[in-house]
Symmetry: C2
Subunit: 158 residues, 2 copies
Amino acid sequence: MEESSYNTVPPGFRFHPTEEELVGYYLARKVSSHKIDLDIIQEVDLYRIEPWDLQERCGKYGGGGGGQEDPTTEYYFFSYKDRKYPSGTRTNRATAAGFWKATGRDKPVLSSSSSSPASVIGMRKTLVFYRGRAPNGRKTDWIIHEYRLQSNEHAPTQ
Amino acid sequence: MEESSYNTVPPGFRFHPTEEELVGYYLARKVSSHKIDLDIIQEVDLYRIEPWDLQERCGKYGGGGGGQEDPTTEYYFFSYKDRKYPSGTRTNRATAAGFWKATGRDKPVLSSSSSSPASVIGMRKTLVFYRGRAPNGRKTDWIIHEYRLQSNEHAPTQ
């Protein structure tokens, strides 16, 4: 199959992906280094950037569009996890001004393919930004939904 | 300038046009028979179709998308005005099951071009669907926003 390629989209289109599209298309292709139709999701180093500086990096197609009321501004980006220690699994979620702290439970992202039963294709973690240094810090209104692919790390190699 | 052409849009994009895009791009191009990048807005004969039958004609990219809550389903279409009498200016807004009745005042659609002061590029009329026959009829929840270009009918021909 031939792949299409885009530089932009026609007037009136806004990037309002479903979670399934984010995980099943954009994240899956990013992780596997497959071509993404339109390079809409930028890569940022989340721990070298403050939330209020994301706009200039990720602002192109996001935000509310159309006739809708959309008080929330949303940005989409890819970021690598930063390890606190080379051998550790604890991730460093601090920026210069504060830190991201997980809240609530992780939530599965389901595939809604009509040809097969729903399956878990990824997980969503929600994090809140606190100004200051852990374990102190002042909670802000900034939140991130961090998506990851459903891990196959322990699956047998093909 | 070369024009782009699209058959579809990348995953995650939804059609949520601003009023300025609807009028200044889609309607203006339709009226002047200019090419529209992606043929997303279908032509329907509004007075030969009931509102609840619009979905199958106009459903492709509309509706709520992404992670947003969007209880309203919206459809976009082009329709010609139907004249009640060949010489008249009163339009016939009846379907088989009911009729569309204007409500409120028409509202200007403004151009937000940053290079010039805002100008009126079109007008929006709101109509409500009533079941039955005028002047009776039972009001429904169906509404249409009918956009027209700012009329230049009486302007001198160039």
